[in-house]
């Protein structure tokens, strides 16, 4: 669909036989194989309890699998220590959350600039790059505003700006429209499409089939297993 979606791009995410079990024997993921290539825009859909949040955590290196192999941006997660995973997140991953997680009382500019804090850039550079991405997401005139002075849609756009500042290899969005009304939600999705058209690899976790339907690739999850994948079906 989108011209930027080139299935031949190098893999950004490679999951092989990934299982995740929680104490008590509950398997949130029961053997998942998934490859996401550079430039793709993927929806990971499923009802609550299907394991999509666990999948997000594992792809985002916030959690490790019980078994199976996870490669993110070419790094085998099992080989990396906790601090190296942190560095990997700082350099290669961007997160967008349903509830924005913006620091209260801090301007949009500094919220975005703080997203670059752990990449080791100096403050001046962080602020400059933050201003650039805020412009890209259409918040050029809201940089000095604090979160409580922004609308829900603006907050999520600021959060997206924070996630894409520093050009991550992969942008992970967890129910990005979950806390927004339809119009703001559509605007946020349009922004994600624009970013993907500009080359950003994006995975959107959602339970909303309507939103999923607008994305080029859809991976459907149920009971910890992938039940359908439009990319695999096409192949």
């Amino acid at each position: 669909m989108s011209p930027a979606t080139s299935p031949s791009g190098e893999p950004v995410v490679e999951l092989t036989a990934v299982r995740k079990e929680y104490p008590g024997g509950v398997a949130a993921l029961a053997g998942v194989d998934l490859t996401v290539r550079r430039g793709e825009m993927t929806a990971i859909v499923g009802p609550s309890g299907s394991g999509k949040s666990t999948l997000l955590h594992i792809v985002g290196t916030l959690d490790r699998p019980s078994s199976g192999s996870v490669r993110i941006a070419g790094h085998e997660v099992a080989d990396l220590r906790d601090r190296e995973l942190s560095a990997l997140r700082a350099q290669s991953l961007g997160f967008v959350f349903q509830s924005f997680h913006l620091a209260p009382g801090v301007s949009a500019l500094d919220n975005v600039a703080d997203g670059l804090l752990y990449s080791g850039r100096p403050l001046r550079t962080r602020r400059r790059e933050a201003a650039e991405v805020l412009e890209r997401v259409g918040l050029a005139d809201r940089m000095a505003h604090r979160p409580h002075e922004l609308s829900g849609g603006q907050k999520q756009r600021a959060a997206i700006a924070r996630a894409i500042a520093g050009d991550p290899v992969l942008l992970l969005a967890d129910e990005p429209t979950g806390a927004l009304d339809t119009a703001s939600g559509d605007a946020v999705m349009a922004l994600l499409h624009d970013l993907n058209a500009g080359g950003t690899t994006i995975a959107v976790i959602t339970h909303d089939h309507e939103i999923a339907a607008t994305l080029p690739r859809r991976v459907r999850l149920r009971d910890g297993l992938i039940v359908s994948d439009t990319a695999r079906a096409a192949a």
Partner: protein
């Protein structure tokens, strides 16, 4: 793509401070309240040390002015007669010959009473003693006159008298030229002395010239006290030599006292008082530290989302730990700085009201700062470790 292992960035000192301060900026009320505990502790300690140091400085200042080099020798009580003996005439001149003695003087107690006039009954002495004094007494005591002149070779032969400050007040004499009745005749007041903290017995005396005492008051010329002012550092040696020099036959009976000893004891006592209050300040500081630790623990619980977000942005456990220790340190230093200002102000205010020279010792400021840093680190360590241990996925969960 399959590049080297990712390496976490080191935050600059400025970024560490900014991140630590960020948590405080959004919760000003809590910051003030928990820093207050530290502030009270530090202020207590600084002001206790400061006030006691000011008190000591005051005693020291007085000691410096009065000198710790004055010795007073008095004859012992005679074993044979039970009466207070006297030295041989000229004992003060003998004392002057001891190496290190710079001034010496003598007084001799006279038998007559001192009264305002002959109408006052003889029993009503007001505790004032008549004494003969050598001309060197004023210089030896480093005394000053409030009014008039001191005894000299000229006026010392005539019935003239110089009154000590207390004696003058008790006699109601405030100007020179007045007459006071000593023994059986009137003497003219030619001078009134300023207070003499090292020689209260002189403050309570009416002093006549040596010759006048012999001529008009049947004085035998034998000194009953010898005052010796010695050079710096010679005091203890002079003290050892004085009895043998002025009374070679009965040196064991000679009593030598150091009037500045009482003042020195007072300076030492001021110090002993401090330790107790300092302990009290330390307890206050400890309670303040517990307050900071408590604030930090609560803060970590409340800011789970922030911690989760920072982990997702790439913060290592070390970054999170450092952030919370820095926050606790800043909180503590804030309180400590306020406490130092408060403690110094309290010291200055007390010193001003008590007429002391305000002194806040540098060591108390540096000790206070060190205590603040130690407490901040200790109080922040446990909450910081807890924050760092928090799993990012749990931290990000929406409750």
């Amino acid at each position: 793509m399959r590049a080297a292992r990712p390496r976490p960035a080191r935050l600059s000192a400025a970024d560490v401070l900014r991140t630590g301060a960020a948590g405080l900026r959004t919760r000003p009320a809590r910051v003030v309240l928990s820093a207050l505990g530290i502030a009270i502790g530090i202020a207590t300690m600084i002001s206790v040390v400061g006030i006691s140091a000011s008190g000591k400085a005051d005693v020291q200042r007085r000691l410096d002015r009065l000198g710790t080099d004055l010795l007073v020798a008095s004859p012992g009580v005679s074993l044979l007669t039970g009466e207070k003996a006297a030295f041989t005439p000229g004992a003060e001149k003998t004392a002057r010959r001891i190496e290190g003695v710079e001034h010496s003087a003598a007084t001799g107690t006279l038998t007559g009473t001192v009264r305002r006039s002959d109408k006052i009954p003889e029993e009503d002495t007001g505790g004032i003693t008549a004494q003969a004094a050598t001309e060197t007494l004023l210089a030896t005591l480093r005394g000053e006159l409030r009014r008039g002149t001191w005894l000299n070779a000229g006026n010392g032969r005539f019935p003239s008298v110089v009154l000590g400050s207390v004696a003058a007040r008790r006699l109601g004499v405030d100007e020179i030229g007045r007459q006071v009745f000593i023994a059986d005749r009137y003497f003219t007041v030619i001078g009134i002395l300023a207070p003499l903290p090292l020689a209260p017995e002189i403050e309570r005396s009416a002093l006549t010239g040596w010759d006048a005492a012999r001529e008009y008051l049947r004085f035998d010329g034998r000194p009953t006290s010898v005052y010796a002012r010695s050079a710096d550092g010679a005091v203890s040696r002079v003290r050892g030599l004085l009895p043998r020099t002025i009374d070679p036959r009965n040196p064991q009976d000679v009593k030598v006292t150091d009037p500045s000893a009482a003042l020195q004891a007072k300076a030492a006592a001021t110090g002993a008082f401090t330790d107790l209050l300092l302990g009290l300040g330390a307890v206050a500081l400890l309670v303040g530290g517990v307050g900071v630790a408590n604030t930090m623990v609560v803060s970590v619980l409340e800011r789970r989302h922030e911690i989760g977000l920072r982990r997702s942005l790439g913060a290592t456990r070390g970054h999170v730990r450092l952030q919370f220790v820095t926050e606790s340190l800043l909180l503590s230093v804030l309180g400590g700085a306020a406490g130092m200002v408060l403690g110094s102000l309290a010291t200055a205010a007390y010193a001003a009201s008590a007429g002391l020279p305000p002194v806040v010792p540098v060591w108390s400021i540096s000790a206070g700062f060190a205590a603040t840093l130690a407490i901040g680190t200790l109080a922040g360590l446990y909450p910081a470790v807890r924050a760092a241990r928090l799993s990012p996925t749990t931290a990000l969960q929406t409750p």
